[in-house]
Subunit: 356 residues, 4 copies
Amino acid sequence: MSHNTFGHLFRVTTFGESHGPAIGCVVDGCPPGIALTEADIQTYLDERRPGTSRFTTQRQEADRVKILSGVFEGRTTGTPIALLIENEDQRSKDYDAIKDKFRPGHADFTYEAKYGIRDYRGGGRSSARETATRVAAGAIARKVIGNVRVRGALVAIGDDWIDRTKWDWAETRRNAFFSPDADKAREFEAKLDAVRKSGSSIGAVIEIVAENVPAGWGAPIYGKLDAELAAALMSINAVKGVEIGDGFAAAALSGEENADEIRIGNDGQPVFSSNHAGGILGGISTGQAIIARFAVKPTSSILSPRKTIDRLGAETEIVTKGRHDPCVGIRAVPVGEAMVACVLADQFLRHRGQIG
Amino acid sequence: MSHNTFGHLFRVTTFGESHGPAIGCVVDGCPPGIALTEADIQTYLDERRPGTSRFTTQRQEADRVKILSGVFEGRTTGTPIALLIENEDQRSKDYDAIKDKFRPGHADFTYEAKYGIRDYRGGGRSSARETATRVAAGAIARKVIGNVRVRGALVAIGDDWIDRTKWDWAETRRNAFFSPDADKAREFEAKLDAVRKSGSSIGAVIEIVAENVPAGWGAPIYGKLDAELAAALMSINAVKGVEIGDGFAAAALSGEENADEIRIGNDGQPVFSSNHAGGILGGISTGQAIIARFAVKPTSSILSPRKTIDRLGAETEIVTKGRHDPCVGIRAVPVGEAMVACVLADQFLRHRGQIG
Amino acid sequence: MSHNTFGHLFRVTTFGESHGPAIGCVVDGCPPGIALTEADIQTYLDERRPGTSRFTTQRQEADRVKILSGVFEGRTTGTPIALLIENEDQRSKDYDAIKDKFRPGHADFTYEAKYGIRDYRGGGRSSARETATRVAAGAIARKVIGNVRVRGALVAIGDDWIDRTKWDWAETRRNAFFSPDADKAREFEAKLDAVRKSGSSIGAVIEIVAENVPAGWGAPIYGKLDAELAAALMSINAVKGVEIGDGFAAAALSGEENADEIRIGNDGQPVFSSNHAGGILGGISTGQAIIARFAVKPTSSILSPRKTIDRLGAETEIVTKGRHDPCVGIRAVPVGEAMVACVLADQFLRHRGQIG
Amino acid sequence: MSHNTFGHLFRVTTFGESHGPAIGCVVDGCPPGIALTEADIQTYLDERRPGTSRFTTQRQEADRVKILSGVFEGRTTGTPIALLIENEDQRSKDYDAIKDKFRPGHADFTYEAKYGIRDYRGGGRSSARETATRVAAGAIARKVIGNVRVRGALVAIGDDWIDRTKWDWAETRRNAFFSPDADKAREFEAKLDAVRKSGSSIGAVIEIVAENVPAGWGAPIYGKLDAELAAALMSINAVKGVEIGDGFAAAALSGEENADEIRIGNDGQPVFSSNHAGGILGGISTGQAIIARFAVKPTSSILSPRKTIDRLGAETEIVTKGRHDPCVGIRAVPVGEAMVACVLADQFLRHRGQIG
């Protein structure tokens, strides 16, 4: 119900604005006895951290996480785990120019319409800075789901797609784009440099893969694993579309093509001959890899002037200065991983509750 | 939390299997004093009802709805509204052949994996028959949101898309496909006849448009209007992808192209010069039309034999006889409308609760 | 969130009015594979059924339950279990006199104040008739919690308390009052006959005991087992107080008296030397018997005229005719048992989810 | 669902242990535009703060609250309000003696049974220290419900009750016991001094009164105002019983006595001639004062040795040293007020959502 909480048994409540004193989250329902340190969480925060390459915002944030509760002598206790990340590099003055103007594509207009008040500094609550807390929660979720492995990759920038035959997971952590295709990563460099220098921006598509999910997680009808993944991924800033498995391309298949036939493998276990379904049937995991993709629109902060209005209803123009990611989709990779991990942790606990 | 409930203040709990005695739902949180009759609901059920053309399943179901509670002297009382639809045309014997086999693409395998037991008749709980109860609930949701108008259209069958320049809403209720393009509807007839006769199936893309939604509905961060739409639409049987506004195409745009600029209209109200965002920014409605699309995979029930396994783990083949929709996406149009209406009703009540 | 739902993983949604066509509930989250028949449920409904003695309402209701979903070949499937009980003996005309008047002590005034509309027949949704659906759900909850035994007894009518030294559980099902004290039951007969004949009513206190609950169920801080029991019992019609263990009497104890000391029993397991705590410490079960008591006010329907107002705001008097329980607390015994069983089933599943 | 969250639209999630770095909470769903400063919250925290008299624990905590989010330029923004209170005076060494022993009456045994691990320092999560965060949230809730006034008083220590004819609300803030009876407060001093010096403890009863609640708040059946108050108050540490209005005494009344008759007052509004119901009928407020009482057991930390066992299952004895409240019920007064305020804020927003 709560607007700022997701999950049911593994439940994450986040708080904080881009330019307030701190952001953070409370993770409730984590099983007890799990080894957990701040370093375990920091590893993932560092992947999302701004300023690690010239292709992301130059805002300097250490994003140092503190565990405030729920961990005793290095292990979770089953009580709520509060995580705090202080905001450090706030240049609120950068935002005076947009105080009274609505940046097109941003949430300025809608927050004002809804609440009649907004913290305009850096987008306030609507800033992608909030996603740092998701990544922190995701680090805990990964511990809950044990040997389930959740990895993400950027598969397109603009309409430029990676070559799937060159997919190398290790490569995703070697280039600045989380690209699994090393050659394409080099192309992305040139492409993004041009975008960045022109003060423009561009969108991206991210793919998240979860392996080792056993068959049986998820639940009909409104607790479907794919429905919850869709909500989780669509809740990430700037996301406009979500697909599972073949996604929109499935609409163009025949029933014969789309059927993932089942055989028995050498180990006596069911083996699917294909995975058009993306590892989910009827909202429940099949045991195959879970595959989800999401589309991120281009960063709305650009240097070209755009027509807009101000709070008083007067027509005006706006140029969004400040420090921005030219392709906000890049740093969405660790965020997408975190969301998938959180959904899986929640589904795992719910499954264990109902089925035993 | 509940797997079979969606919504928070406008809350729908559904129940029932394809071949049990009845299906139904309980709508809780509906405001009091709203005029409501069974006929109001029946109108929408009739749009989803099977057997209305040769392009849908020939199962004969009147889908006659009964109101069991929550309405007194023709008006809602604020107490839960229970709706019941009895199952009539159940040919359970049709399903003996699949009792012990898992139909590829269906939820047979996953329900068995999760629960260790399943009502195999017609897919049991995983049957699209459950969506009749959503349509019934959606009819009530429409009453709650007053002059918000929610309409749906089928925009593609397979990779064959309608021509948007020929869009005519009235046409969607004149042809068997909910196509807004009359010419394309005629092409669809031939296409579907071929699919149907060959015992094959095909996918589709549906678009739902909600007009007159005021700016300000929805909420950060996990109660985002688009996140809830994504979950609601992805929860419909056979859906594999969801988009808002430009959706995946937004990833290929530049920031300049994607920005929906704002002007002041003749009535002194904000006017957007475009609607790439699909009426939602930061998870909150902009006042523009809400636009959502979803992709439906081809019906998994086909006449060509597919390889599969049985409950004992032996390899086998299966042919899915019985009565099926060759393109389950067609009847997904009223279901998609209903889900969008329910999400909006819920967001409306929550907005009114928090903002007053 | 939903007003008409309780529970989280074991979740019950009820619907129906006293004089509508039917009442019922949907039980969601029940584990699969549990043997369940209508007879299993009917047994408990029969204990709550009206008209079984001269001390309860003479309304004749068979309260015959039908299972509409969620059970296949005699076993639960993990999908929602819908239960339906048709209303049979509705004498709605009895209520014309109260159509426009607010009966003191009843919910007439408050429903009108809240909703501006109400089904006045027999109290509509606020009727204790709704509790039949709780009893039905409770029958399923008992199956979920296996060898946990939940039993209830009436321990006082008015200020007349049973003698605890005469406590005999078997006796509770032999007399018309669920009294565990056979001698006191005979006194209750005379007492209630007098109350009944004078057209008056009287209150009662009920005690529910749950045995074999393992240590560890329940959870801090707002999911405390005792907090959920308090809500569940207070939600029963006419209940005005709830106690756990020594309850209000604990306030008068010294810390030394109140401490339940712990020893090791012959079986090597912890044994408490007393149970002032009622089996719950810090919101979590200790392994001792869970003991909860609740107070039921006298039935508000009485034959003496009471001063009230009508819907138009005019002062008037009212006499509540119709068929009523002179002591509504009697039939609250099986309802209290059902609520405790439902809370325990839910806590069991949640515990299993988080702890494994 | 979440164990550490309460409320639905006005939603509070708390975290923190007695001897961790900090405790705090996240208040989600607060309406926007409300003036709110740290001082507004501090006022109420100071009432609950330890060490203000010799009758409460001598632990020195400033309980200084920091607002981390959700407030911009002195007003709430509608986004989550995170509050942080750092722990200062932690003498964790005091607890080495109880590290491996279970203190009778405390949650040590049950936390261990449930989680297999516990932060034993000061009771960890089960410490009443957590209630400081509730008081902080309650300060915000009071702002939400505007002119509804929530006040609490201690009405009994042990079996020594105040004289209701001497009730003076102003007095509750003048003595160390929140007693509305000044004479009785003097008696309490002597009584508590004796308890304190003997190293014993004693229980108490607290009464919370909410005035100016309009008729119509609350909701059937499981969202009843009294059911939610019962859960909220029972969730406070050491509470063993909750009553609404006449509570358990109502069981001893006749229907004639219990009926709160209704007349029309000089202002044309309904007036009740009595308030046995405590301002709630059918789970919905009547417009009268809401009256709730709760019983607090004696503090379990006492200086007399009690028999117990240790983590290894060996029998032993324990004396609870450290700094404790001899009557934990005293500081429960502001906590009870806060819980009632939070329940009312939530019910107000939910009412506004459904009814408009």
